[in-house]
Amino acid sequence: MTSNADRSLIAHLLRRTGFGASGPEIDAAYAAGYASTVDGLFASSDDPGVAATPAPSLPAAIDKSADADLVAWWLARMTAAHNPWPEKRTYFWHGHFATSLQKVRYAPLMLKQNQTMRTLGGGDFRTLFRTMLTDPAMMLWLDAEGSTAKAPNENLARESMELFSLGVGHYAETDVRQAALALTGWRLDRTTGAATFSTKNHAPGPETILGKTGSFDVDSFTDLLLAQPASPEFVVARHWFRLGSAAAIPASTQRNLLAAYGANGASGSNGANSVNRAQTDLGALARALFTDASFTGSTARYALVKQPVEYVVGALRALKISPTAKDTTTLRAVLTGLGQLPFYPPNVGGWPSGQLWLTTAALQSRIAFARWAATAGDLSTVADASTGSRIDAVGYLLGVDAFSARTTAALSDVVGSPPSLVGLALLSPEYQVD
């Protein structure tokens, strides 16, 4: 393997486990080597970037400025983190358990959910999933709050199967209605975010869900879902789709990832509380993905489109822009125009992917952002280079493996102006892929 190929592979790993990858980051990872860089993603060491961006203290009320502070904080955190994987992973779970502040309205509850995803997102999926079922923002979002035996709400029951654990086709409508009963009895204090269970409002059962009969509650319902053979396949496929490639997961990769995550099987017993508890190891799953031959080989290379948050945060990181409170207004407008404002997914299905980010509408916002970023950013890497080597310098700065002859020719028209050059490179087709 040539050194260029090694650099390209390291850059690929950094893009998928973070938000873009600039030249100096690639240099450092290249020096450390692939295996050691993967290890570093999972090492729990103090991160000065995280320490410098503590979570905001938000008023326990509906408050527009708290909404803005929340978005500003996460963008700042994603930009500052030295090891971006915990943030990238949190962003992945935000899309998986997609919850919008637009309906939840209480910013502190969204922050709490975000912190839960950050804390639990690299551990045991069972714990994360179970916690999400009584997460305050999720309860408001999917109407679980106040769902009682007399008036069960099916929203959370449906999505917990369809979007969070199993996928379409692995449950029936009767399972949704029965599962809704299992999830009844939970109430929420919106200001403290405390979820409390009242036996009085909980349906006593027995329910029959996915062929098992018992008096289910939120815990045994979790165990039941995660014991379905469809569940590990679903979790693995979601990881591949968002972090690997838009193309179908290769069979060997699926086998490897299932083995790492923990394949399961339903037990032969009939009791609700007696399903097999296989491991659901998200850390092992992610590590297996990043070291799988399909991920490191050609299958996954450039096989995704940068999502708007990846695009914007990647540019902020490469250009060393620490967004101020004032910049947040600009960034919010840009991300809204691009179609992906954190904490505001379009619906519980999360955000789209692939070429749907590449619309003429979004391009207008990208042009505005590129203009702004090239003015606000540190362009010294490019400006200090001789005009003859500036195209290489901007490719290095933004972590682009190689510009095509088309793009090189276009960029060569503006090498005299570093802001124009950087702005244009941010709009190049090569920079849009991930």
Partner: protein, 402 residues
């Protein structure tokens, strides 16, 4: 007259690929450039849909008002309009007094009112219900909008970026497909880079054999933006107008100019917001309905006077109506079914569907009588001449709207 080279024109319009560029010769005038889209104008008779989204949940009962119904009067004493105030529509119903322009369209038989439009298991969240209306999917969250899926079924040719456009702001989900998406027009001029940067950006839209598939898609999207800008810039105002004339009127003005200039666009999305009237509803809603009525009737007048009068249909909808009873703040809370307006010279004016009962309620909410997807199916079939099943994922009864 200034001239530009064919190469510049082709790059500007993005309408041909590199092969044609290499073979290109001759010169085109600015006028040609400005009318790039007219190389493939809509054929006479090809339908044009203008979809107007009213954000916030417009109170249908104070829009198409059952003033003669005592339950209406007693349910919202401080909010109700009397029989003598409303603009008579027959059937015991009348339009809000602020809607004189649309009342005239009703009298001219150019306005159809579909009553009681909604969907099963109504959702009371603005956001979720609007998502349902825009994706046409009440039970399953979808990443694509109903007109986006219509776009997916259109030819993937040089005009793809021009077929459906939204006016101002962010692209609404209704125009996002699974393969492609509509374009969005600024209310002033496009803000594309000028000079060398502009030329260079344009060049980034050229195809390259070195592109991976997504980079190639990005390049073609860049080319598409220049196509859109070249096609629409001549009809966009020099700068964003003031809101004094009404933001909706401004959007519809641009739409009318586009239609008159024969750009090959079949779908326009426009919007008006502010209908979330939980308190002091009467004044707020009356102002908004006045703006709606005068903007829409002004638009229709202009269209009626032009060549495409028989082709253009405007549809106005909102994410839900409001509850029958007023709340304690002289406002109304989130409800369910409401009226949808359909207007145009070719529209069969009058009522469609049944007015929901004010006494046979579902937990205080009106029961819908017409599924909103029937309105969409009718528009897809009758205006866009498309197969409604493909965009809606099912079959819905067509309504007698044209």
């Amino acid at each position: 007259m200034d001239t530009v080279t064919r190469r510049k024109f082709l790059l500007a319009s993005g309408v041909v690929g590199a092969g044609a560029l290499a073979a290109g010769a001759g010169a085109l005038t600015w006028s040609d450039l400005h009318h790039a889209a007219q190389s493939a104008p809509l054929q006479p008779g090809q339908g044009i849909l203008v979809l107007l989204t009213l954000y916030g949940g417009n109170d249908g009962l104070n829009t198409v008002i059952p003033a003669a119904d005592p339950v209406y009067q007693s349910g919202r004493p401080g909010l109700a309009y009397s029989e003598s105030e409303v603009l008579d529509l027959g059937d015991g119903l009348g339009l809000n007094p602020a809607m004189q322009g649309m009342h005239q369209l009703w009298q001219d038989r150019k306005l159809a009112i579909v009553r009681g439009v909604g969907y099963p298991s109504p959702n009371h969240s603005h956001f979720v219900s609007m998502d349902i209306w825009q994706t046409a999917s009440p039970s399953d969250p979808q990443n694509s909008g109903w007109l986006g899926r219509w776009l997916d079924a259109q030819p993937d040719d040089d005009l793809r970026a021009l077929r459906a456009v939204s006016l101002g702001g962010t692209l609404p989900p209704l125009l996002a497909g699974t393969e492609t998406a509509g374009s969005s027009l600024p209310l002033g001029q496009f803000r594309l880079p000028k000079g060398e940067s502009g030329t260079a950006l344009r060049a980034l839209g050229d195809p390259s054999s070195q592109d991976c598939p997504y980079a190639a898609y990005s390049a073609r999207d860049t080319g598409d933006l220049f196509t859109v800008a070249a096609a629409f810039e001549p009809v966009l105002p020099a700068q964003k107008g003031s809101d004094k004339g009404g933001a909706l009127a401004q959007q519809l003005d641009i739409v009318a100019s586009c239609i008159e200039s024969s750009v090959p666009t079949q779908v326009y999305a426009v919007s008006l917001g502010g209908f979330d009237t939980h308190s002091a509803e009467k004044g707020t809603q009356s102002t908004l309905l006045g703006e709606l009525s005068s903007a829409v009737s002004g638009f229709q007048q202009r269209i009626s006077a032009g060549k495409r009068a028989g082709d253009v249909v405007l549809v106005a909808y909102t994410e839900f109506g409001r509850r029958v009873a007023a709340n304690a703040n002289e406002g109304t809370d989130h409800g369910t079914a409401g009226p949808v307006f359909v207007l145009g010279d070719s529209v069969a004016g009058g009522f469609v569907g049944e007015q929901p009962s004010l006494t046979d309620l579902d937990q205080g909410d009106l029961k819908f009588s017409t599924d909103f997807r029937s309105v969409y199916a009718t528009v897809l079939a009758d205006v866009l001449r498309a197969d409604p099943g493909r965009a809606l994922g099912g079959s819905f009864p067509l309504l007698p709207l044209r």
